[in-house]
């Protein structure tokens, strides 16, 4: 069966520090991968998605970037965090979200101080 792993679970980082969140998927090949952010009172916001190695699409221009160095690995990064980057970050995968929906990872609670 397919599983998705995301770490760390919680993170407290100072403003201006870098960020790296990692997500890996097991049990499937060539998954479509997604990064979502859930900020308080704003619902889920799609940040990036990837349909293959090295292929990244950005939905919202911002202080973050994403990379997919391997088929089942998706990384969310920032060179300098802002206070507004705080939130709950979720990695997800899907064969086809329009048909099967998403399977989300357990999330990373990021607090920028």
């Amino acid at each position: 069966s397919q599983t998705i792993h995301q770490w760390p679970a919680t993170l407290v980082q100072p403003v201006g520090s870098p960020l790296s969140l990692e997500c890996t998927v097991e049990g499937t090949s060539n998954p479509n991968l997604y990064w979502y952010r859930q900020a308080a009172g704003r619902g889920l916001q799609l940040l990036f998605y990837s349909v293959g190695i090295g292929q990244i699409s950005s939905e919202v221009p911002q202080n973050l970037s994403a990379s997919r160095p391997q088929d089942r690995q998706f990384i969310l990064s920032s060179k300098k965090l802002l206070l507004s980057d705080s939130g709950f970050y979720l990695c997800a995968w899907s064969v086809s979200w329009a048909i099967y929906g998403y399977t989300f990872g357990s999330g990373t609670r990021l607090t920028v101080v």
């Binding site: 009172g41 619902g43 979200w97 329009a98 099967y100 399977t103 999330g107």
Partner: protein, 112 residues
């Protein structure tokens, strides 16, 4: 563009029923429903496709009114495990792509 969910919050006693609504101003291809427990990731419940209706997942079902661009999630004989925040996601055409945009959620608390 963001769908509107109602009510924002509901409190039930175990065994009671609830209805959560999701309304959009855009023509929709589908409506997605997820449940999220506090501090956890959202869990997929079901997708309602244009022209159809999908049931499943315990005693939870849903409908999709294409003319009104509305979906309703029905929770019958609620159980304590139903507590959480329910999100709808609405799929619509945006240029050459289809996009999914989410509501702000409906908080459901089921008490003994």
């Amino acid at each position: 563009q963001q769908p509107v969910q109602s009510p924002q919050a509901v409190i039930l006693r175990e065994g009671e029923d609830a209805v959560i609504n999701c309304s959009s101003s855009k023509a929709l291809y589908s409506v997605h429903w997820y449940r999220q427990k506090h501090g956890e990731a959202p869990v997929f419940l079901m997708i309602l496709l244009k022209g159809g209706e999908q049931k499943g997942h315990e005693k939870i079902s849903a409908s999709f009114n294409e003319k009104k661009q509305q979906s309703s999630l029905y929770l019958t004989a609620s159980q304590l495990s139903y507590s959480g925040t329910y999100f709808c996601g609405t799929e619509f055409q945006a240029g050459n792509n289809r996009k999914l945009i989410w509501g702000l959620g409906t908080s459901l608390a089921v008490n003994p």
